[in-house]
């Protein structure tokens, strides 16, 4: 992945700073609670939600297990429909391809539809280095771009900003990028949306090159699908002469019919709507309607490495709805920036360490950015068992072992800093395999319980600083059971 977030502190340090920010916590609490209640209502409207979710899971799993076949089929379909397909193994290659395609048009500015893939590869910065200015046109992306900020949510990258902060950013920055904010702009959402409309319209009308991602790609037909709300997507997809779409290879669906599942589950999971305001579907190019040139850049960038892990590969089912962020108690308090990636929240905690590997401090700490409560799994419309993958990644960090990086099989060494944990687990394994020793130990613990400290000494201190040590009962369970037959006999 890109270097956008290089130098990020590990999650605990970043989160500590974030939870101390009262404005941030208020903004996040307000937004996540608003959307949570609405999502529940939107999902409850559909009587067959469980079946749709299961079908979504199976379609995605089937596609991933035959991904090579579907990629080749997609390439053929897109090419037959008048598009050009490019393949990019990593962020740098994708950026080079896009920069070259833009250079070939002779343009020095592009308009962009909100896209996670292009954020992931740091496309805007790469284009900037080539002298091309990329204008973000999604409202939240615009707020982030104008505020020289970082995205903190998959769907609403500016979720950490409240309306007053957004107004201030618009007033201060719009002038430097184009049409300034209207005089006397207030913080009502309708006025802020109007300011964005006026600011961006001139850019849409003169744009010659549009850059997008895609929510889905249909292998059978070569159709791409972009789901959005504001109409900025439609502007970028239909007004320019050249359209470049950068899409992760896992976004394929085998058939046109498969959309019937995801066009029901995605809007309800994401913005809690029966249907999002606008969805665009296009297949290659169409004579005299929309762009004359269409380029599809298929992006790997760690996805095939992720696919190689039999537990972790389920993360590739993700359709980027962000429902898991909105229900996560850790995300609600720590915010998106602490995750050090364009993919924050529970899905980010399993995606980033797989796409990027666990070599950096932030990536090694992400699998721990969870209480494993399972709310994310509950709401996931493609049933990704996020807690299962988190535990898998924790094991990988602590124990090391074989993984695939950049297509090569390598063996990770156990991470430093987990020596006490490993020793404790070894001791537990030894004791649980020896009933006599376990019994003797439990009795000793019960009899000495008045002497136990409230916090752990040595390397355990950090652990018990934020947790209560479990109280040891006066009598071990086995002894109690033997004495009372499970309470049937009077104690």
């Amino acid at each position: 992945m890109s270097g956008t977030f290089v130098g990020m502190p590990a999650f605990p340090e970043a989160a500590r700073e974030a939870v101390a920010d009262r404005t941030l916590r208020g903004n996040l609490r307000h937004a996540t609670h608003t959307i949570r209640a609405k999502r529940e209502k939107a999902v409850a409207e559909v009587s067959d939600w469980a079946e749709l979710r299961e079908a979504g899971r199976r379609i995605k799993d089937h596609t991933l297990r035959h991904l090579d076949r579907y990629l080749v089929q997609l390439e053929e379909s897109v090419t037959a429909a008048g598009g050009t397909v490019h393949w990019a193994a990593d962020a740098a290659e994708a950026n080079r391809i896009v920069a070259r395609l833009v250079a070939e048009t002779g343009e020095s500015e592009v308009v962009k539809v909100k896209s996670m893939a292009t954020q992931e590869i740091g496309l805007n910065e790469a284009l900037e280095a080539e002298g091309v200015r990329a204008y973000e046109t999604d409202l939240a992306e615009l707020i982030v771009q104008l505020g020289k900020d970082r995205p903190s949510h998959i769907l609403v990258p500016a979720i950490h900003r409240n309306r007053g902060e957004i107004r201030d950013v618009f007033r201060r920055e719009m002038g430097a990028w184009g049409r300034p904010a209207p005089e006397g702009l207030t913080d009502t959402p309708a006025e802020l949306a109007e300011a964005a409309r006026l600011h961006l319209r001139e850019k849409f009308l003169r744009a010659r090159v549009g850059i997008s991602g895609a929510n889905f790609m249909i292998a059978e037909t070569g159709t791409l699908v972009v789901v959005e709300s504001e109409g900025n997507g439609r502007m970028c997809l239909t007004l320019p002469e050249t359209l470049i779409s950068v899409v992760g290879i896992e976004k394929i669906l085998p058939t046109w019919r498969d959309l019937e599942v995801f066009l029901q589950t995605l809007p309800r999971s994401s913005t809690a709507e029966r249907m999002n305001p606008y969805t665009s579907m296009w297949t290659g190019t169409t004579d005299e309607d929309g762009p004359r040139a269409f380029h599809l850049v298929l992006l790997d960038n760690g996805r095939t490495d992720t696919l190689a892990d039999e537990v972790g590969r389920q993360a590739l089912r993700c359709i980027r709805c962000s429902a898991c962020l909105n229900v996560c108690p850790v995300y609600e308090r720590a915010g998106g920036h602490a995750y050090g990636s364009v993919y924050p929240g529970p899905i980010g905690a399993i995606l980033s360490p797989q796409l990027r590997g666990t070599a950096s401090g932030i990536d090694a700490s992400l699998p721990y950015a969870s209480s494993l409560c399972g709310a994310c799994y509950e709401v996931c419309p493609v049933a990704i068992d996020i807690p299962e993958v988190l535990v898998r990644l924790r094991e990988r960090v602590v124990e090391g072992g074989p993984v695939v990086r950049d297509g090569n099989r390598v063996v990770l060494r156990p991470a430093k800093g987990h020596a006490a944990e490993r020793a404790a687990m070894r001791a537990a394994r030894w004791a649980f395999a020896r009933p006599g020793a376990l019994r003797a130990g439990q009795r000793l613990a019960s009899r000495t319980r008045r002497l136990h400290p409230r916090t752990l000494p040595g390397p355990g201190r950090a652990w018990s600083a934020t947790r209560d040590l479990p109280a040891v009962p006066a009598e071990p369970f086995r002894d109690w059971w033997r004495r009372t037959r499970g309470g049937e006999e009077a104690e």
Binding site: A31, R163, T221, T271, R274, M275, T279
Partner: protein, 221 residues
């Protein structure tokens, strides 16, 4: 080795642990979900469509075939529209009661020219009752994708009951994937400020949907 070969090779190696499976796709995925959520007759489907469109702030109007020109005329006049975009194949009778100047949908028009047009009138390919969605696919009377995007006012005529389906699966069955399509559920909106929905960003801020083919009472003809 090309990047294409490298990526395909990585995919195949990544899946080395997976047992081969040649089940045809039609049988590989179980689809236990509903084709539609309850069978609705034509009147109920139109009612649900109207309700869901209105819920997302589209303005819904219902009229019989012979009342359509008056409704369209009134909607354009109500906006003070002096110009109206007219796609190829639109029934000229629909605009018979409007004196707005007709602007044809031309490939040569620039976006800036479209931006100066007040309103656009189109038909649609299909409408989905359960989600309050109208779908345009560039067929007769629907025009290029951009003409229903740049002007600030869109009047869309839906033929009831022929063009109304209950559900998303039934709508996809009717559409041709090779045609570019636009699915519209209410006017342009955003949830980007505090995750609360606000209508009106880049697309038309006013969406009028006219359900035509039934008397205003809503009963069967």
């Amino acid at each position: 080795m090309s990047t294409r070969e490298r990526i395909l090779g990585r995919v195949r190696r990544a899946l080395a642990d997976v047992a081969p499976d040649d089940t045809p796709y039609e049988r590989a995925v179980e689809r236990a979900y509903a084709r539609e959520h309850g069978r609705l007759d034509a009147v109920a489907a139109a009612g649900l469509l109207a309700g869901n469109l209105a819920d997302y702030r589209a303005r819904v109007h219902r009229c019989a075939e012979d009342g359509l020109p008056a409704v369209v005329g009134r909607l354009l006049a109500g906006r003070g529209a002096r110009t109206v975009l007219v796609p190829d194949g639109l029934d000229p009778a629909w605009l018979a009661d409007s004196d707005a100047r007709r602007v044809p949908d031309l490939a040569a028009s620039t976006p800036a020219e479209l931006d100066r047009v007040d309103s656009v009138v189109t038909g649609c390919a299909v409408a989905i009752a359960e989600t309050g969605t109208i779908v345009l696919d560039g067929g007769p009377g629907q025009g290029r994708r951009r003409i229903t995007l740049v002007p600030d006012h869109h009047v869309c005529v839906v033929r009831v009951p022929d063009q109304v389906v209950t559900s998303v699966p039934l709508a996809l069955e009717r559409l041709d994937p090779t045609r570019p399509s636009t699915w519209i559920s209410g006017p342009s909106a955003t949830s980007d400020i505090e995750l609360d929905r606000v209508e009106g960003v880049h697309g038309p801020r006013t969406l009028d949907v006219v359900l035509v083919g039934r008397p205003p009472g809503g009963g069967p003809r």
